[in-house]
């Protein structure tokens, strides 16, 4: 009798083939992402020494955290500087890219050309390039522009309420072209989303004599809101993983000190990533809640 061929169901076949194609990614994810994720948390409670044979790991409890928050003079200021950068930058990037995409969507002539220019920074943006650019400004202009901006009446008014807020505002204006460089991908996403809105909605609103301002607030923005969440998360992740920030330098310095710094580096990077993930979570919650409220009505 011929060998009996084992019959498998459709779902089993789907599973088998699907996992066969997914396999490389899953292996990589487990080894290079999931395992390190857990390992960093564990390592942050230990002291790691590199020896000839490998690594000598000793459990030291919360010492690394105490050291990061209380003993190390660089970490907390770097973290605060990072927070002072990422939160305002995200706001500015999301809002500006929406405005630019909205305006780009209104025109036809030159649209492709302008879009090309706005996307250009995505291609050339790298840590060293940004570092050189920011560095070159700080040489010549920082002093002048700080004085120049602080002469503006409105900024003086803001400064009289809160000095640190005024400083953030000045920072935004100073680094505007650097901030704008992060809007490349968000603009494309927004344009794409705007083009997917059904034009008959606009026509219906126009027949009901809505002006374009009302159409913007009552139709465009509500429809585009889920996309705002995507763009916000993308921007935070992008800024958070971009190598031009003060915490990265600290982590890198600690990592290179393989004789005993890896545990501390793990603590630094875990605190840092925790903050980034929390910010992303907050952004997620903000947009989620609003959506639910809207569905209620």
């Amino acid at each position: 009798m011929a060998k009996k061929k084992k019959l498998i169901t459709y779902q089993q076949r789907q599973n088998r083939h699907g996992y066969r194609f997914m396999l490389p990614w899953i292996i990589g994810f487990l080894i290079f992402t999931a395992f390190p994720f857990v390992a960093t948390i564990v390592l942050s409670f230990t002291e790691v020494r590199q020896t000839v044979l490998g690594f000598d790991i000793t459990f030291i409890g919360l010492d690394n955290y105490i050291m990061a928050f209380f003993e190390n003079v660089e970490f907390v200021p770097a973290m605060l500087a990072f927070l002072g950068m990422i939160i305002p930058y995200t706001f500015v990037i999301v809002i500006l890219s929406f405005i630019l995409a909205y305006l780009l969507n209104k025109i036809t002539f030159l649209r492709g050309f302008l879009r090309t220019i706005y996307f250009l920074p995505v291609i050339i943006m790298s840590g060293p390039v940004m570092y050189q650019l920011i560095d070159s400004r700080s040489y010549s202009e920082r002093v002048d522009s700080f004085l120049g901006f602080s002469n503006i009446f409105i900024l003086q008014m803001v400064a009289s309420y809160s000095k640190s807020f005024a400083r953030i505002l000045i920072g935004i204006f100073e680094e505007l072209s650097i901030i704008l460089w992060f809007t490349g991908i968000p603009i494309i996403l927004f344009i794409n989303g705007l083009q997917k809105i059904n034009p008959s909605l606009y026509e219906a609103a126009q027949i009901d004599s809505a002006n374009s301002w009302q159409i913007l607030w009552k139709i465009t923005i509500p429809i585009i809101k889920p996309l705002v969440l995507v763009v916000t998360i993308f921007t935070i992740a992008n800024l958070g993983t971009f190598s031009i920030n003060p915490v990265y330098d600290l982590i890198k310095k600690a990592t290179e000190n393989t004789s005993g710094g890896l545990g501390i580096a793990a603590t630094f990077s875990w605190i840092y990533s925790f903050v980034v993930l929390i910010i992303i979570g907050i952004a997620f919650l903000i947009f989620r809640n609003k959506e639910k409220v809207r569905r209620h009505y």
Binding site: G28, T40, L120, Q132, A237, T241
Partner: protein, 310 residues
């Protein structure tokens, strides 16, 4: 009555044109803000040392020279670093393209168990900041190299492994591009092939890959550019044993000092902004050239990620 209406119409149209002009004005101004750093770079590149100090020179150099480019090129060791950067990025890009095509194909064609879970994991992999993962990765590679007895750190092997297993730079976006493109290919093509006895591998190669030549190009280009610009992971794993252009730019200051002290320590030969900016310009020029040829593909690539729809 007729006339009144007519005038109102013309007024409305005039207002519309005025509005359009305003929009153009704003957008063109903004595009200058985007380009300002690059323009500044270009103008600085052609400034002689005298122009850099001269406060009356703002954009146009008075005595343009190519000297900066020459010096910056030598300091960056351009011939070597350029070639290194190109093969290094291309290698990683090829690995990333292959694995994202496989993963995208699995997600688009098969309804396997826990598919939702893996999609969420793919997105999480994008959100998790890299430094969090780098330390155990580094330890993993150091342990492996101790175990195997030959060097991994300082070679491109760790990064190729990571790229080959889908954990390279922005792998998530690349997977999404493939996923959405494969979704556009009608499933009936697969069915026809299956009836003719094609195996999944044949379907993937003969149908999906054959049809997606342009998507492969887009993904390759993105991956190439991102790997080129990536310095954190490369700096940790490769360090300085392969001299890459962006990494060299990162330590341009110290490289310049060694160059300047080697023989030509004259007073006018000091590090200034012009040298730095021309070095920066040199390091982005290959990417600018690439972009000028294939910019349409780049933008369409992002549009095809499909995160805007669904």
């Amino acid at each position: 009555m007729m006339k009144d209406k007519f005038i109102r119409m013309i007024r409305a149209r005039k207002f519309q044109t005025f509005l359009k002009l305003c929009i153009y004005f704003v957008l063109v101004c903004v595009s200058f803000v985007y380009l300002e750093p690059i323009l500044k770079m270009i103008s600085m590149t052609f400034m002689s040392t005298k122009d850099v100090i001269d406060p009356s020179v703002d954009w146009l150099p008075k005595s343009p020279s190519f000297n900066n480019l020459k010096v910056a090129g030598t300091v960056l060791d351009l011939k070597k670093t350029l070639v290194n950067s190109i093969w290094f990025s291309a290698l990683l890009a090829i690995a990333q393209t292959i694995v994202s095509a496989l993963t995208g194909f699995a997600l688009s064609r098969y309804n396997f168990k826990f598919k939702k879970f893996w999609i969420i994991m793919i997105i999480l992999a994008f959100i998790i900041p890299v430094p969090l993962l780098m330390i155990p990765r580094l330890m993993l590679f150091i342990s492996t190299q101790n175990f195997l007895g030959f060097n991994l750190i300082g070679t491109p092997i760790p990064q190729i492994l990571m790229a080959l297993f889908g954990q390279g730079v922005n792998s998530t976006i690349l997977i999404l591009i493939f996923y959405n493109f494969f979704n556009l290919i009608p499933y009936s093509l697969d069915e026809a092939a299956m009836i003719d006895g094609a195996s999944p591998r044949q379907i993937f190669i003969q149908i999906a890959m054959r049809l997606s030549a342009s998507t492969v190009l887009v993904v390759f280009l993105f991956s190439f550019v991102w790997n080129w610009n990536e310095t954190y992971v490369t700096g940790t794993l490769v360090r300085n044993s392969i001299e890459l252009l962006p990494a060299k730019l990162n330590m341009f200051d110290s490289a310049f000092q060694t160059y300047a002290s080697a023989g030509r320590g004259s007073a006018q030969f000091r590090l200034n902004e012009a040298y730095k900016m021309s070095a920066t310009l040199i390091s982005i020029t290959p990417l600018l050239i690439l972009y000028s040829f294939v910019q349409k593909h780049f933008i369409q690539g992002i549009e095809n990620t499909g995160i805007t729809g669904e």
